[in-house]
């Protein structure tokens, strides 16, 4: 603060409070509605004070949308994506930044171009691959004549097949495939001074020892940020899980269940249960963001540069 300016200070608080209301209203409505009875929630205008039906509504939503198993699925997917992405991202960024191999620049671009096209944009073709993730390799074998060769020699018809529909791998792998994490790690690795790697070389450490003993501990903040971003991003996935899981009962995620909670056109308008469900579903990523805020903010920013 440079100078005292009571009027401007007051304005600042006023704006921030209006902003706070703006941001928080939807959360508040969800909580309030989730705590009301059907009768209360149907009132026009609605009361903006919480009532005492929260637990009832939560259990009702939990049962109606079968949130137990779905919650487990969501956690499996979110954690799978988070762990998978962090692991692969750190590894590939390490290779790109610290190794001198011929195809380095090609690999770099092959991976980074994927930043341009989010999953939603190429949803149709990606879905097609889910039926058989090994199709590209089969095609390569077919085109190069290897299939024919193998069949001629051994009599075995090579047919690769790996169906990803209704599987955790199908839910997880396509989300791990994009380059956001690699990009973030690369940004960080680029800030490590050359001399640190050289010092470790002089100390007799191998490349992998440098990776484990120096890079990984140093990138802890970035890792937490990436973890937050990935957890939130994969928990909140909607379109992809919708397509890849036809067997919703076993492989559905919680976010997919939201639509099922919306009152039917001519059914009971029990929005209180809907809101209770929404509350349950939005809580885990919200908690993650709230707790990890400090790191997450830093990580999000460094994507820019």
């Amino acid at each position: 603060m440079i100078e005292r300016s009571p009027f401007f200070d007051a304005l600042t608080y006023a704006v921030m409070i209006i902003g706070l209301i703006l941001v928080i209203i939807p959360f508040w409505v969800v909580i309030v509605a989730a705590s009301q009875s059907l009768q209360e929630v149907s009132q026009v205008p609605i009361s903006l004070l919480p009532s005492n039906q929260l637990w009832t509504n939560l259990s009702e939503a939990w049962a109606r949308a079968d949130l137990g198993p779905k919650m487990i699925n969501s956690f499996i997917v979110a954690i799978g994506v988070t762990v998978g992405k962090i692991t692969l991202a750190a590894m590939s960024a390490f290779a790109i930044v610290f190794f001198n191999f011929k195809a380095r620049m090609i690999c770099f671009w092959l991976i980074f171009i994927t930043l341009m096209l989010p999953l939603e944009v190429r949803i149709v073709p990606t879905y097609a691959i889910a039926a058989n993730a090994l199709l590209p390799f089969q095609t390569i074998l077919d085109v190069t004549g290897l299939t024919w060769l193998v069949q001629a020699v051994s009599g075995i018809q090579v047919s690769l097949n790996w169906n990803l529909l209704n599987s955790y791998t199908g839910l997880i792998l396509p989300l791990v495939a994009t380059a956001t994490g690699t990009f973030l790690y690369r940004q960080f690795f680029m800030t490590i001074p050359d001399e640190l790697a050289e010092a470790s070389k002089m100390d007799g450490a191998s490349a992998m020892e440098f990776f484990w003993d120096v890079l990984i501990p140093l990138s802890r903040t970035n890792m937490l940020a990436l973890a937050t971003i990935m957890f939130v991003g994969s928990w909140n996935q909607y379109l992809w899980p919708l397509l890849i899981t036809t067997d919703r009962a076993n492989f559905g995620t919680v976010v997919m269940q939201l639509k099922a909670l919306i009152p039917a056109m001519n059914g009971t308008p029990d929005w209180n249960v809907t809101m209770a469900g929404a509350l349950i579903i939005m809580l885990p990523p919200l908690l993650v963001v709230a707790f990890m805020q400090r790191w997450f903010v830093r990580g999000l920013i460094s994507r820019d540069k």
Partner: protein, 358 residues
């Protein structure tokens, strides 16, 4: 302790050559300083010894063993970096002990050795701090301890003190000297600070543009610079250098026709030969006008150094600097007479800059 022999070593980056064939032998236990202007390839040479940079041509041997194809860890060298390159997430203890940990030295032995070197550089109170919580000088000492703990055959230093303030630099210099005396390990020290070089070196290697200009003891290099470059580079204030030639009487003609009597240079005074005459400011004296061979000059300005002063003067079109101990006031524009101490004269070929021996 090991001898280092460098034979015809070259370095190219892609197409550009940055080291054009260097031959040096560094004796076991010697403290060698590589001195040269920025960009001349000092670090590159050092890093080739360390194994951090591939050797494009020639051969480097440490302790009689050719190391061209060895990894840094197999060469037995330790290195102190300019920006310390400490591991920021490890404590001082872990930083120093990291190489031992990598080498799978047992914890107890490791701790003992870390303690020993920490004592040698008085770091014991800081062992559990992180580098971020240390001052520049302390960090520097951690970097040195880290190099020492492996008991290497060779110490390599790449401008280790350039981030320290002047006072600390002097203190660290003394410390390095002392450590070298105690440990007697062959050391190669890169710097572009000539005071540092002169005070530390047993042997000085002057480099310029990827070539070695001169190798020798500091006093030797100072008193007998092998080339115009070395003459110009070593010594502060810098040596006076005059381009010119000898006339028929053997007088040196410079600038816009000024003459200097350099009878001392008997035998090399070929009339018409283009040369560079060098004389250090301390070899230039003020004298009376009637002194034989006195050079008339006009004072341009005076630079006070405290105990002495530098007189910058114009002698018939050539700039000349004299170190003067007199304290009487001299205004700019004052005419003075200067004489050159015979023994302080140096002569270089204008063509290739090499010394013309006499």
């Amino acid at each position: 302790m090991a001898q280092i022999t460098i034979k015809g070593v070259k370095k190219n980056y892609a197409k550009t050559a940055v080291i054009h064939g260097v031959d040096v032998t560094i004796e076991a236990g010697e403290f060698v300083v590589i001195l040269g202007p920025s960009g001349c390839g000092k670090s590159t040479l050092l890093r080739m010894i360390a194994g951090l940079e591939e050797i494009s041509g020639g051969e480097i041997a440490i302790g009689g063993k050719v190391v061209n194809d060895l990894e840094p860890r197999e060469r037995g060298c330790a290195m102190v970096f300019q920006n310390y390159a400490l591991y920021p997430h490890m404590t001082v203890r872990q930083n120093i002990g990291y190489s031992l940990k990598v080498a799978k030295v047992a914890k107890a032995a490791r701790d003992a050795r870390v303690m020993k070197v920490a004592q040698a550089v008085s770091l014991e109170p800081y062992l559990d701090r992180r580098p971020g919580e240390l001052s520049g000088g302390q960090r520097q000492r951690v970097a040195m301890a880290r190099a020492m703990v492996r008991e290497p055959k060779v110490f390599l230093f790449d401008e280790p003190f350039s981030n320290l303030d002047a006072k600390l630099r002097v203190a660290m210099r003394a410390e390095v000297r002392r450590l070298h005396r105690d440990l007697g390990v062959t050391s190669v020290f890169v710097t572009h600070d000539q005071t540092e070089a002169m005070t530390l070196a047993d042997k000085l290697i002057i480099m310029n543009a990827g070539k070695v200009e001169q190798i020798g003891k500091p006093t030797e290099v100072y008193n007998n610079p092998a080339s115009r470059f070395v003459a110009d580079f070593i010594g502060s204030p810098a040596m006076n250098l005059f381009e010119g030639e000898f006339d028929a009487e053997g007088q040196f003609v410079h600038g816009t026709g000024g003459r200097m009597n350099v009878s001392q240079l008997n035998g090399v005074r070929q009339p018409g030969r283009k040369v560079v005459l060098g004389v250090r400011p301390e070899g230039v004296r003020r004298t009376g006008a009637d002194t034989h061979g006195a050079i008339p000059a006009v004072v341009d300005y005076v630079e006070e150094l405290g105990a002495s002063r530098l007189i910058h003067a114009d002698a018939n079109g050539s700039r000349i600097v004299a170190l003067d101990n007199d304290t009487s006031e001299i205004k700019s524009g004052t005419p003075v007479h200067l004489s050159l101490a015979d023994s302080a004269l140096h002569l270089f070929s204008l063509e290739d800059g090499r010394r013309i021996s006499h």
